[in-house]
């Protein structure tokens, strides 16, 4: 078990290294040379050289990558010794070209919004998805099954940037049931925070629950046809305990797996959700960074997102081991 964990962690680490190399590569094939951008109009060769030096673009590529990684591990110092010396504590992802802020600070600032979305939405979509999936699996081919399957299919086919606007149009603008979406710190204004989050939660929750409803239904129906379920019935168990103990126990595992991965994806930044509802999360940060060609921030956000995904994968595998004795004891 431990050995396995270690092996997975190493695997994840290697993936991260490769991802980082790849992303880091962006710096150098980029359309706009960052130095030229920073240099601006009054650019003279001297100034250019100076900026290249400041941004540490004047050293060989591998060395740059090494410093970049070292910065993440143990922090780094720009312009050491000079009046303008900048210390960047670990994990250092450099400074934003756009705002001169530490990328790590930007990420810290934006993370709460994304977390808020993920937090509420994930609870919502699990609840809706599982329950409707279970119901339609048990009430197979009844109208309720047909309905929830229809809803699920619709949900799976709808786009957040469409649903989001439609819901906002009706629930916020026309009916005024919800307040317009947005993010404020839950510590400062818990009420406004919740109000601002409801719409994103609903939208994301509804759309993602669709997948879970389908997954749950399919999973349960498949398990129901298993021999060991027949055995359980042969024991004389009530259909209740057959369904909720024996069937669920076997059907839940893959769902948890998918849930973990989705959550991992989401934590890296709900790009479109944040874009549609103007929520200053990691995804928004990334889109802004892209439109500003703000490389350190792009790299930072992509790396963070990747970390979340890789971590999610590892966690999921571990959970799977705990849930499935076959894997655990293999």
């Amino acid at each position: 078990m431990l050995a396995y964990l270690v092996r997975r962690l190493i695997g994840g680490a290697t993936v991260m290294v490769l991802v980082s190399i790849f992303v880091f590569g962006l710096f150098f094939v980029l359309p706009a040379d960052p130095a030229r951008l920073a240099c601006g109009k009054s650019c003279t060769p001297e100034l250019m050289a100076e900026i290249r030096h400041t941004l540490e673009l004047d050293i060989p590529l591998p060395a740059q990558y090494f410093r970049f990684v070292k910065g993440i591990v143990s922090g780094r110092t720009y312009l050491a010794g000079s009046e303008a010396q900048l210390d960047c504590a670990a994990p250092c992802l450099g400074y934003s070209y756009q705002t001169d802020e530490l990328v790590t600070n930007l990420l810290k600032d934006r993370a709460p919004a994304t977390l808020s979305i993920a937090f509420g939405a994930s609870i919502l979509w699990l609840l809706i998805g599982l329950s409707s999936g279970i119901v339609s699996a048990l009430r197979r081919a009844t109208w309720i099954d047909k309905f929830s399957q229809g809803a699920a299919l619709a949900g799976a086919s709808l786009q957040i940037y469409f649903v989001g606007l439609v819901l906002q149009f009706f629930l916020v603008d026309k009916l005024g049931w919800l307040s317009s979406p947005g993010y404020v710190s839950p510590n400062d204004y818990p009420m406004e925070w919740a109000q601002g989050m409801i719409l994103p939660w609903l939208t994301l929750g509804f759309l993602l629950s669709a997948i879970y409803a389908r997954l749950t239904r399919a999973g349960m129906i498949e398990v129901m046809s298993e021999d060991y379920i027949r055995t359980a019935r042969a024991k004389g168990l009530t259909s209740r305990s057959v369904n909720f103990k024996h069937v669920m126990r076997a059907a839940i595992t893959p769902i948890i797996t998918v849930f973990g991965l989705d959550l991992g994806q989401l934590l890296g930044g709900a790009v479109i959700t944040e874009y549609v509802f103007n929520i200053p999360g990691l995804g928004k940060l990334a889109t802004e960074a892209v439109s500003n060609v703000d490389l350190p921030v792009i790299v930072g956000t992509v790396l963070v997102a990747a970390v979340f995904i890789v971590m999610a994968n590892i966690v999921v595998d571990l959970v799977y081991m705990i849930l499935d004795p076959k894997v655990r004891l293999a």
Binding site: A32, R36, L37, C39, G40, K41, S42, C43, S82, E83, A84, Y97, Q98, D100, D109, S180, P181, G182, Y183, V184, D188, G196, N278, I279, P280, V290, S291, N292, V293, D294
Partner: protein
């Protein structure tokens, strides 16, 4: 967000720097009574209450040496005084002395400037504002690497034989070109070359007093010492800022500031849409709120549809932005082709794409009509664009027919921001209609102005460039030389002369213009020059002068459009009971 894009900013300055203007205006004579405080009371104003300002992001900088953002330049006058400053009363904006007592005198036609200073002005702590503080305020702005941002005017214009690098890098050094009179009641600036409009330049933060003892370098940005009617009580970066009254500010010493609210609270971190909707729905704290950086965009159509409801809280006014197309004269050499482009462009569709008549007014010139002396109402492509803005397709085709061999496929560069793609599409359609082939060059926001200015070999240069310019001061000298003078260009960069205009005949006129002493005459000369470049050489296609539409809470009064910065100013604001 910024008065102009930051890159442009420095350009504007450098451009002017490059334009050596030799002779300066005769000094202003008497000091008008209006220059002494207090500022005339605002009609119906009431004292007290809290003014709330809701912004999308935090101020980039409030350190006077670093701030170069329109809204902030306007706002920070609540606690920052500069040598000279703009005053707006009932829509009329004029330059007035602020810390200074006059608009400066020059014995040598603009190379040396001496300003009398107002006696015993005080900082928030009661200490006196000295001439040395003014000098120090300028000196510290030389430490760009630490105090980044801000204008570079001081460095561009002031002499600096000793190669002074700023007080932080060489503490012993001195900026010899600034001297204080023995009594400390006047300050003198020695310039590298004549700058007739220097009194406009001194409205910027690098000409504001900073007490050396209180200078906290980078951290001064968090807590500048106040010389204005309010002082900073608290400032949490990215979250909020609270201003309270500054007891040591004397209204009688100040011709342009008011202090009606007891308290001013600024909150940051609102999203465009959310903020717009709050102001629009006039709900909660938004009732007593305004924003320095959020125009009505999403709700514009709705606001207009029900305009009666909003009449006393909807503010529409001309911004200092001129939206225009620069035709790259390096790549589009044939005059007929350039004229054809000028004729083809359909200002109607362009303005519609920008949001219709509320987004601005058709322009035949880069100079806004408000600059009476400089503005010329000439025809473009033989028609008055104000009355017939539509494209002159046939005229364009005729012109193209004249030079059949010339290149007819153009690269149109535009920025991926706001209505710019739609406007570019409008231009593209018009050009296609006239028989051009147009490739769209969509460029990211960041570095747009660098990219479109690049002349380096091997760089694909756009033929038609969609851009804009907002003047730093209300004079043709703040527009024409920066945008059209060939001398501003470097081999690798056009700076803001995106047309790459370098016609010998025009350049000789620029040199003549440099000789002109009187600002009025200079305005006229530059106006004529611009007309020639537009009409005879078709270097640019002026499209429209942009209008801004802001909204405030229903309980705010005294809010006004500020001609100095082209933003909605809270300076005279008061809170209705």
């Amino acid at each position: 967000m910024s008065l102009r894009n930051k890159f442009l900013a420095s350009v504007g300055a450098l451009a002017l720097g490059a334009t050596a203007m030799s002779i300066a205006p005769t000094a202003q004579a008497a000091t008008p009574a209006s220059w002494s405080g207090p500022a005339p009371a605002v009609k119906g104003a009431v004292t007290g209450g809290t003014l709330t300002i809701l912004n999308q992001g935090d101020f980039e900088h409030i350190d006077p040496a670093r701030n170069y953002v329109g809204g902030t330049l306007d706002f920070y006058r609540f606690f920052i005084r500069t040598l000279t400053q703009y005053r707006t009363i009932n829509g009329k904006t004029e330059l007035v002395p602020d810390v200074a007592a006059d608009l400066g005198t020059t014995p040598d036609n603009g190379k040396t400037w001496t300003f009398k200073l107002r006696p015993n002005l005080k900082y928030e702590d009661g200490s006196i504002i000295t001439c040395q503080d003014l000098k120090y305020g300028t000196m510290r702005s030389y430490n760009d690497e630490i105090l980044d941002g801000g204008t570079t005017y001081a460095e561009d214009f002031l002499q600096n034989e000793t190669g002074f690098k700023g007080p932080y890098t060489d503490p012993t050094g001195d900026l010899t070109s600034i001297t204080c009179s023995p009594k400390g009641d006047a300050i003198t600036y020695k310039l590298a070359y004549a700058v007739p409009y220097f009194a406009y330049v001194t409205t910027f933060g690098s000409f504001s007093p900073v007490p050396k003892a209180k200078d906290t370098k980078q951290n001064y940005d968090l807590r500048p010492v106040s010389s204005g009617p309010y002082k900073i009580e608290s400032y949490n970066r990215g979250k909020n800022m609270t201003l309270i009254r500054n007891k040591n500010w004397n209204p009688k010493s100040d011709p342009l500031r008011w202090n009606y609210p007891d308290k001013i609270v600024v909150k940051f971190g609102y999203e465009q849409n959310a903020l717009e909707n709050m102001l629009f729905s006039d709900s909660g704290e938004a009732k007593r709120a305004m924003s320095l950086d959020t125009q009505m965009v999403t709700n514009l159509a709705e606001a207009l549809t029900y305009s009666p409801l909003f009449k006393d809280r909807l503010y529409a006014f001309d911004s200092p932005y001129a939206r225009y197309l620069a035709i790259n004269m390096d790549t589009v050499k044939d005059i007929n082709v350039r004229k054809a482009i000028q004729c083809a462009v359909n200002l109607e569709t362009v303005l519609l794409a920008a949001g219709g008549t509320n987004a601005g007014m058709y322009a035949n010139s880069l100079i806004p009509t408000s600059l009476k002396n400089a503005y010329r109402n000439f025809n473009v492509c033989g028609r008055d664009v104000h009355t017939s803005p539509t494209g002159q397709t046939d005229a364009a085709k005729a012109l193209l027919a004249k030079s059949p061999t010339a290149k007819k496929d153009l690269i149109l560069a535009y920025r991926d921001k706001g209505t710019e793609p739609a406007r570019a599409a409008a231009v593209q359609q018009a050009l296609i209609a006239a028989g051009f082939k147009v490739t769209m060059m969509k460029l990211p926001r960041a570095g747009y102005y660098t990219r479109i200015g690049q002349r380096d070999v091997g760089v694909v240069q756009p033929d038609v460039i969609q851009t804009s310019w907002g003047f730093d001061w209300a004079a043709a000298s703040g527009i024409v030389p920066a945008l059209l003078d060939g001398r501003t260009m470097s081999p690798t960069d056009s700076h803001s002369n995106y047309s790459r205009q370098n016609e010998p005949s025009m350049q000789s006129l620029f040199e003549k213009a440099d000789m002109i002493t009187d600002p009025v005459k200079s305005d006229k000369a530059l106006g004529d020059l611009e007309q020639k470049i537009v009409v005879d050489f078709a270097g640019v296609v002026p499209m429209y002068i942009e209008a801004s539409t802001f909204m405030t809470g229903s309980k705010l009064g005294g809010v006004q459009a500020d001609g100095g910065y082209g933003t909605l100013s809270p300076l005279a604001a008061f809170v209705r009971k």
